[in-house]
Structures are given as C-alpha cells and as structure tokens.
Symmetry: C2
Subunit: 341 residues, 2 copies
C-alpha cells in the first residue's frame, strides 16, 4: 500500500517528506543549522540541549511542549535562556521519559525548573518527569504559563501561548544571576502573573500526519481568541480591518490587566506562521497608538513569528506589565538562535 | 462609493486597513517597534535611517526596494549594517526622490553605496537618485544583487532575492572597517559574485491594493524557480517531497557555482512568508545532507523568514562561497532588528 503520509501529490501547501517524520527531520535540521547553540541529548533524540550552558552549578531551565510552534521551543535554547527543550510530536506533549531525560541531561546540582504552556497533556507528562527526577534525588519545580486571556475567566486555568517567551526569559535571567531554585521559580511566577496574551486566527493550520486542516475557515472569516492548536475562541465573524481587530483583542487584554496610566509594558506582536510581517507591523502600529492614548509606556517591543501554529494565518498580542525587577530580568542579555538581547 | 481597499468583508487572509495605506502604516509600526534602531528621515517618510550610525565619517550603506518583502529592507538598518533603507510601494521601486533623499540623510563625506536587487524599476530610480546626489557633489556607487540562478543564464541579468542579505552584510562590514568607497564596492561585488539562490513557490502572495493573488496556483502545485514578485520559474508541477524539491533547487545552484569538495559556504534557507519554520528546517536538513555528501563544509547557517513575498508559501536556498576575506566580512558583528551577529 502506498504511504499516504508523503506530501507528494497531495493538495497541501507544505514542504516535508513523510508526515510522521517531521519532528525528527526538523530537529536534525535545527541542530545542524544551529550547531554552535544546540545538540540532541545522546540518550534521547527529543531533548535539545544547549551548548552554551554555564559551567557553574546553577539552576537549569527546561522548556518544552508539542512541535508545530517553531521557533518555539528549540529556538530558545542558548546562553542565559533555556538549558534544554523537550520536544513532543506536532500539537502533542513530550512523553514523561523525555521530560525526565532533560533533567538528566542538564541538572548541575541546583535543581531544574520546568516551564511550559498550561495544557493537560503537558501538565501530566512533565509532572511524571519531575517525579522520576525526584526519585533520583533531583529537585524539579514547575511554572505553567497561563497568559491566554481568551481561554478562561480563571487565570490559573488559562492556556499558555506566546507569553511563554517572557516567563522563560525572566526565569532564565534569574538562573543566570545565580539565584536559587525557589527564587528562580518566584521570578517565573511573577513574570507569568504580569503577562497577558490574546490572538486571532484567519485560517487553520495543516497537520502533516493527515495532510488536512484541523478545522475549516472560509476565506474572509476570522476567529477572535483562537488558541495555537485551534482551540475555539470567543467569536467567529467576517474579517475586519487590522485596527478593529487589534482594538478588540487589546481591549480584552487591557480589561484583564487593569493597567494604569504611567505603567510600562513590553509588547510582542507575534505572527502565527502565515501572516506577513508587513501586516504584523500594521497591527503593532495600532497597539502602540492605543497604549499611547492611555499613557501606557512601551519599554521594548518584538514583532515577528516567535510562537507559531505552523501555517496558521493570524497573530497574537502579548503585554507584560513591567516593574524594575521584571524589566531587569527581561532585558537581561541572552543569545539563542531566535532571540538575542 | 464604498472604498474597496479596506480588508473588511473581503475574502482575503490578511490583516490591514486600507490597502493603499499598508506601507505608511507598516513603516509607522516598524519605527515605533524598533525605536532604538531606526527612524524616518524628517524630509521623507519613505527613508528609514539608522539610529546606530557610526559617528565617524565612513562610507554609508543604502539599501532598498519595493515593500512586501519584510523584514527586508527596513529590518536590516542598524549597527554595522545598512545606514538607510529606501522603501517603495508593494512590489514597486522607491522613487528617484526617495533614493536621493537617503543619500542626503546619511552621507558623511565619504560617499554612499546603493545596494539593491536587480530589477528594472529599481535600476532606473536608484540611478536617477545617484545622479541627483552627484549633482550635489556626493559620490554614489551601486552594486546590484543578482543571485537568483533561475532568472537568467547570464549572471549579470539575474534578479536579486534573499542573497541580498550577504551582499549587504559584506559591504556594511567593509564600510564599518573604514574602507573607502571603491573598496566597499569591491567587497559587495565579491560577495555578489559568490552568492547564488533559487526558490520554489507553492502559492501566490496576495496584493493589499487589489485584495487578490497575483496569479493562481492549485493546492498541491509548486513552481520551481519562481521569483519573489511571482516572476515565472523554470517549471510548474505537482508538489514533491521536501527532499526532492531541495535536490532539484540545490542542483541548479551547485551546477551554477561549481563548488569544489573542501570549499566552505554560508547557507540560508529562507521562508517566503507562508511556509512554517518546521518545514524550513526539514529543507535545511536536506541541504546539509547533500553538501556533506559533496564534502562542502557549512561555515554558518540561517533558517527563517528573512526576505519574504508577504504570504507566499515557499522558500529559497542561498549559498555563499567563502574565502577568508568573505568569511571575515560576513561574520562581522552587526546589530539590526532582524539580524544580530
């Protein structure tokens, strides 16, 4: 029987070989392309280990989750950022073994912090990985990113999306400064408590294994608040202008954050994979206008594809409320393939 | 009459406001988001000027071309890279006035070098800009990037695509080192002579002003060798696996370059805007395999959306043949919004 998972002769706008090999082939390409930053852990081909780990005994930062969000997660392994990334299949949590092996690969005697987006599969598997590590006498703590305001009224139940980046960055900076595991965890929690995101999708992504979209969207429709795996948002409607879309999304974020005039934020306008950078800047322009009207100061910004959903057309907005401590942590120098500060 | 250029209620997967305002709104967003790197020249809203220009009197590097290729061109303004970027409308050359104003904005007495992809409109308008500057007594030289092997048998007639990046980088490094205009020009020419690219498209991009694709491609088709404005390639066919597509494109590049075993290259796998980073790494993996088989050494690599065609799904491969001089120039430190070495 012919293998139906080969991209060849299928009505899909993707470039891969066998749809079941995409993660292994991606990781092989990733480690070759970023050979000065990262390599696969010899005992586990789903654990990407930093080649720029501090020689000193420090808390180690382990990030991870399903594939399909590149450059998240492997792209943020490097100096003063993640020490390891654990990589699951497309839209699927890494297994407990992979989570455990990441600890084995990088622990330096000061314990490890797991950081990942709050999804049931990731929670279960990382928790099991942490238990396995604790059986070896290695302390592992966890902070789950819960930045997506559209996913629940209850902040602790929310999903993690592009805000991952800031929680990872704050924790990694705290670890780089030599803080202990409790303090590093506290830094991550503080960053998470002050980070809010929301997105909009104009299309589904396609899944390599099936060659099909997760769901269908008519051209010219949008779904406000959709998650990065296609989780339902708050409403589906005809597409509106960039300014109206930004106003709606940013409105939800601002209502949730209750930022005061005079406060400072870090802004990320994140492309979900298929939206041109041109359009992302048009969206950023509106974010900046709205914040300016409210006298909220933009400390720094990023615009680009930082946490994607493969070929999904859409974007998300993330705001991080800054105080002196968070500013210092998020501005801390780092050197990874996709983020250099 | 209702304005037909508003994205609202149209069957298009883009986020903008009025289709005729996209460049102004993008530049406003770009300069706000990258306020430490760039600002608009006060006399001309289409000239993006580096805020990190050397204080010393050095040769100034001016890049530019049509919009729709973001982060090219404005994204590469910064330290030890472009001193200014001249920005045209979508897929349209900047006007001669804009090209001239960029010289006025940045010249520091040592002359300027125009660098851009070889397209008829750009050639005409940048040449006119250079003449206007020369009337003011400012010397302006030009190097046109001609890296796209699929566009002509004659190297000097070829179009410029993602290889732009390396020609810009080599020239900017030469200027940063304090070389004179003739030497900086020579460095750019040498980089161009040693840079070859070719791409594949799986879809057209959409044009904001019309809300339509430039041309139609069936799902599951590809066009090998297509240009970044949709210029015809060498063949249209059913989509093949990533490995076969890479083998074909890389075959054209290698035939043209005649690299010998033992030589060293810089590799760029460039996403055209709609192709997931996941797929780009699968393509890079195959490039690395083929080069390894031929004992061609990869010095460094980049994988990502560096020179796009808005939402076009596709990618291009660029190889730069390196010797010690080009290696030093291309490895030279730089700091721009989208490229930090």
């Amino acid at each position: 029987m012919e293998n139906q998972n080969i991209v060849e002769n299928r009505a899909i706008k993707r470039l891969f070989n066998d749809g079941f090999d995409v993660v292994e082939e991606m990781l092989e390409g990733f480690c070759k392309a970023n050979k000065e930053y990262a390599e696969l852990f010899e005992e586990d081909g789903r654990v990407v280990v930093s080649k720029k780990k501090s020689e000193e005994s420090k808390v180690r930062i382990i990030i991870g989750g399903g594939s399909g969000h590149e450059p998240l997660f492997a792209g943020y392994v490097g100096e003063n950022f993640a020490d390891a990334a654990v990589i699951g299949n497309v839209n699927t949590s890494p297994s407990p073994d992979h989570c455990y092996n990441a600890v084995k690969a990088v622990d330096a005697g000061k314990g490890c912090l797991y950081l990942y987006g709050n999804y049931a599969g990731d929670v279960m598997n990382f928790d099991m990985g942490a238990e396995m590590a604790q059986d070896d006498g290695i302390r592992v703590e966890t902070v789950r990113v819960t930045d997506d305001v559209s996913s629940s009224k209850n902040p602790s139940e929310r999903r993690g999306v592009a805000g991952d980046l800031f929680v990872f960055k704050a924790a990694a900076a705290a670890a780089a400064k030599g803080l202990d595991l409790d303090e590093v965890k506290k830094a991550a929690e503080k960053a998470n408590d002050n980070t809010r995101s929301m997105g909009v999708a104009l299309s589904s992504c396609t899944l390599p294994a099936t060659g099909k979209q997760i769901f269908h969207m008519e051209d010219g429709d949008m779904e406000v608040g959709m998650g990065i795996h296609g989780e339902p948002g708050v409403r589906r409607a005809k597409l509106e202008s960039a300014d109206k879309v930004v106003d709606e999304i940013l409105g939800y974020i601002l209502e949730d954050m209750q930022l005061e005039s005079g406060e400072e934020v870090f802004v990320l306008v994140n492309g979900l994979g298929g939206l041109p950078v041109l359009d992302q800047y048009i969206c950023f322009r509106r974010v900046a206008q709205v914040l300016e009207e409210k006298s909220i100061k933009i400390h720094q910004s990023l615009v680009g594809n930082y946490a994607t959903s493969m070929d999904m057309v859409g974007m998300s907005i993330t705001l991080v409320r800054l105080d002196d401590e968070l500013k210092e942590l998020i501005d801390y120098p780092c050197d990874t393939p996709y983020l250099k500060f």
